[in-house]
Symmetry: C2
Subunit: 375 residues, 2 copies
């Protein structure tokens, strides 16, 4: 019975049908058989595909040149600009997938939250959810509103799909329900997530309502990105590592699962989090075709724990890219050795590239992964 399978298995079952080719609107043969897409499906590959979180980012001079002319939100909202930095980075680095330049917080604007990227401070939300009564202010969005309000993301995906090499898959993405809720409750970044957890602990009803609204919006948003031309999607649960396993199970898992279950079949979902060493089995339960984790777990142990029937992504410490190239190469080899050439490993960092990273080192890493992983 399909109902008895976990979401990953249920989606995998669906992926075996014709839906596997129809999910992504722009899925050509070249894309379907690309190394990255094959690895997502745990099919054999000639070498381990690699891409890097924040590969289009501040560490790259060409990005800083564009950024100097626009605010961060302007870059996100001008499809040509977002597309330019996406395509440039992917082609320059020689990676096996591109990820659309955007921000996980864009979706909260149509939900009625007032978002600003203040200079040097990161994101600020001027009307955060501080208490139960505020949850009702968070708007339930419909598909047409997502398309209207975030049309610039879909436009950027369309342009990027046209400009990218025809065999280079494009990843769409969103923040996970917990990570988005943490921004919505704290009004920005946070160290201890006090407001978020206080709502969770003191009013579970309001908390679940907030996460349900976020989750429905996220599913619509991911499917719109797929319709616009993304071949895969990633859910970033960047801050979920602040939770105990019990809290994750009770307050977060059902919501992340509902997002993943509602993504069109045939489109691989990458489910990524940091600091998730004690949550891996639960993250697997929430679902995803590819599970991503950081450098604080050993890739081989983590893969064993989530199950060999799932693809995995990771897991080099981004700080390793600040060391000399010899060290970076040795670390790449160590991780590839742990993966033992098994099908279904996508090489990546354990979190985004740091702004201080030399571009040359990043290119060396991509080359090292390709070379050292030749089958």
């Amino acid at each position: 019975m399909d109902d008895q399978l976990n979401p990953a298995a249920r989606r995998a079952r669906a992926n075996e049908t014709d839906a596997a080719r129809d999910g992504a609107a722009a899925m050509t043969d070249a894309l379907y058989h690309s190394t990255f897409m094959r690895a997502c499906r745990r099919e054999s590959v000639p070498y381990t595909p690699v891409w890097l979180m924040r590969q289009a980012g501040r560490y790259m001079k060409e990005y800083r040149d564009v950024r100097a002319k626009h605010t961060f939100l302007e870059m996100c909202k001008q499809p040509e600009v977002a597309s330019e930095v996406t395509v440039y980075a992917a082609h320059r680095l020689g990676v096996d997938a591109a990820i659309i330049f955007a921000d996980i917080l864009l979706i909260i604007e149509p939900m009625g939250l007032d978002l600003e990227f203040a200079k040097g401070e990161g994101p600020v939300i001027h009307n955060p959810v501080r208490a139960s009564a505020d949850v009702d202010r968070v708007r339930e969005v419909e598909s047409s509103e997502v398309l209207a309000s975030l049309g610039y993301v879909m436009d950027a995906i369309r342009i990027t799909r046209r400009e990218l090499k025809p065999d280079l898959p494009l990843i769409g993405f969103c923040g996970a329900p917990f990570t988005l809720a943490s921004y919505i409750c704290e009004g920005g970044s946070s160290k201890n997530y006090i407001t978020t957890k206080r709502l969770m602990y003191n009013d579970a009803g309001a908390w679940h309502e907030l996460l349900a609204r976020i989750s429905r919006a996220l599913a619509l948003y991911l499917n719109a990105q797929i319709d616009a031309g993304a071949q895969a999607v990633q859910i970033f649960d960047s801050w979920v590592g602040c939770l105990s396993p019990d809290d994750y199970r009770e307050y977060v898992l059902p919501h992340t699962r509902s997002v993943i279950e509602n993504v069109k079949p045939g489109v691989p979902v990458i489910h990524f989090g940091t600091g998730t060493a004690t949550l891996l089995e639960l993250i697997r339960e929430a679902g995803g075709d590819v599970l991503g984790f950081d450098w604080r777990v050993s890739l081989d142990e983590a893969w064993e724990r989530v199950g060999r029937d799932t693809a995995v992504m990771g897991n080099l410490d981004p700080v390793a890219l600040l060391a000399n190239v010899g060290h970076v190469r040795a670390e790449a080899k160590r991780i590839l050795d742990q993966a033992q050439g098994r099908d279904g490993h996508i090489f990546n960092l354990g979190h985004g590239i740091l702004p201080e990273t030399p571009v040359g080192t990043v290119i060396s890493l991509v080359e090292a992964v390709h070379e050292l992983s030749q089958r």
Copy 2:
């Protein structure tokens, strides 16, 4: 052969000898048989002992009143003041141990580092170790220098021991080699530990020399605190959770182990870290009579992994204390249920009390732990 035991077992063996009573200079019968000391030795107790990291801290009005009249470093360096806040908090909360008011960074001053607590910024080190050549600037300190330079800590311990209830043990402490090195390299707090890891990865020789110097100073410092009247000591490896298991094993474990091995026998060592879910077995290998961890691991699973022959400390999320008292009590019960009344559990938070915490909730927690854990 003692040499084949791990450090914890070797220390435990030593603890069975007469040294068990002689280690701590001020060990009276009342202290030796206190609930906290019995739990450190995994002996039976009438209820689970509890104390809380940062129990003398900003969340408490009486602390803020004292702090308003002194800088943070002044508070540390005036033994009467440090003692006053230590004793007041322990008696007010009704906890089962006091911990001396001090800072893990005090020891770096005699090592030649220029420490300041800048307003609102936390610690700043004006002459950090940025590269291999800087390591030679870090001075090797001798026992007499520790006593001369940090005599105020030892004085505070002597006064506190005199003022505390006679059956209330006093804990001395230090930062662990890695956590101290991270401050010394970064010049303060850090998000990504780039300078620290760069030194580690690019010049392992310089790194090990730095950690060896720190470790020798720490052992002298802990033993001086014991001589002054501390009944137990805690090693705080607060930031070690940024490391992969392989990096911990290679760059950190031998140094932490050498500190612990050099603490006088008969004095329990609490070895604490946060974000250590993937490091627990290695932390056990480094040693300690009591291992402390945060809320992101389940107490029962963590205890199983480190071995039932070790005492454990933990592990309530400090943010839980910002929720209502009903939630706090339920969480205390959940953790006590996981411990199953086994000997060798010391209740604590998974990290320090947050400044926003209501004192009344903290007192309720202490009462709940005592009441719910009655044997």
